[in-house]
């Protein structure tokens, strides 16, 4: 280690990449659920229908994070 180095980081850059890939879907799933809770609070009798839509929305949003998880299998090996 030379004098100019203050801190050294070792490890796989892909981990940081996946961390970044998880940010977007995290926010997205949070938005989907929070809006569903809000809607159910406004209109409790629609709860069953809204929950089905919520699971759909979560499934679509979550797919992005899971594609991030799949990239090392596709490009890394």
């Amino acid at each position: 280690m030379d004098v100019n180095t203050i801190a050294a980081v070792s490890g796989n850059l892909g981990v940081i990449g996946y961390g970044l890939a998880a940010v977007g879907p995290g926010i997205g799933v949070g938005l989907v659920v929070s809006k569903t809770i809000e809607s159910i609070a406004r209109q409790p009798e629609l709860a069953a229908k809204l929950q089905v839509t919520m699971w759909l929305g979560i499934a679509f949003t979550e797919a992005l994070a899971l594609i991030g998880l799949a990239t090392p299998f596709i490009f890394g090996l």
Binding site: V52, W55, L56, I58, A59, F60, E62, A63, L66, I67, L69, A70
Partner: protein
């Protein structure tokens, strides 16, 4: 790697069986037996004209009606729902059975955590929703889904490739990937928790041993969470297949 264990039967041939294949075959046998028993019970009580189901029969009725009523009929309506019900029921129970092995002690890995099985089911869903659309709308199905109505003509340069990618390529890919990656991530989490417990209890000193209790608790909680995920992924897979069929059947096309 854990997801590609060694073959132990018929190694080297096309029918090589490793740990995961064996788990899949066991689950398949259990599913077939349970379904046959249910069918026998239903037939017997129908012939006898009895209206009071027993405990085992009631379980079957609840499980089968869950797919029929709250997925198929809710999204597709009675007529189309019953038409596609065999596929939806199969997808739901196969996915559920294969997912649940991820948390059964002794098996400890989901049959769906290798992408082969999810790909097969995604292809089945893909073929079915294209078949449903073509049967209902003919060749118009493709033009309507590639050139959605109400878009200015010039934008089709932009819209058509996106629609093609999302409808005909990303749909089956995400169906298969979502299921597999959920199961892999769940398995890795459990492995992490329990191997951390092992490490803290046996390989560390002093107060660090106390961490072992914490990680074990986390492992237990994540096992319960995996139970939820196993059911949820089966539900989501079936629901998405239903929604794709419903979109293909809808009159906008």
């Amino acid at each position: 790697m854990e997801f590609y264990p060694d073959d132990f039967l018929f190694a080297g041939t096309f029918f090589a069986i490793n740990r995961i294949m064996a788990i899949r075959l066991i689950v398949l046998t259990v599913l077939v037996i349970v379904t046959l028993l249910w069918a026998g019970k239903f037939r017997k009580s129908y012939a006898a004209g009895s209206h009071v189901p027993g405990r085992f029969q009631l379980m079957g009725e609840i499980a089968l009606n869950f797919v029929r009523k709250s997925i198929a009929h809710e999204q597709l309506g009675e007529k189309d729902g019953d038409r596609f019900l065999p596929l939806l029921t199969t997808i739901f129970f196969v996915t559920l059975g294969m997912n649940v092995t991820g948390i059964i002690p002794g098996f400890n890995i989901a049959g769906t955590s290798i992408i082969g099985l999810p790909i097969v089911m995604a292809i089945a869903a893909y073929i079915t929703f294209i078949y449903a659309g073509v049967k209902r709308h003919g060749g118009h199905f493709f033009t309507a889904s590639l050139f959605p109505a109400g878009v200015p003509k010039a934008f089709y340069i932009l819209v058509t490739p996106i629609e093609f990618l999302s409808t005909f390529i990303l749909r089956p890919v995400t169906l298969a990937l979502r299921l597999t990656m959920n199961m892999i991530a769940g398995h890795l989490l459990l492995v992490l928790c329990f191997s951390a417990t092992q490490f803290f209890l046996f390989n560390s000193e002093g107060l660090f041993k106390a961490f072992g209790a914490g990680t074990f608790l986390f492992g237990f909680v994540f096992t319960l969470f995996e139970m939820l995920v196993a059911f949820l992924q089966a539900y989501v897979f079936t629901l998405l297949t239903t929604v794709y069929i419903q979109l293909a059947l809808s009159d906008e096309h």
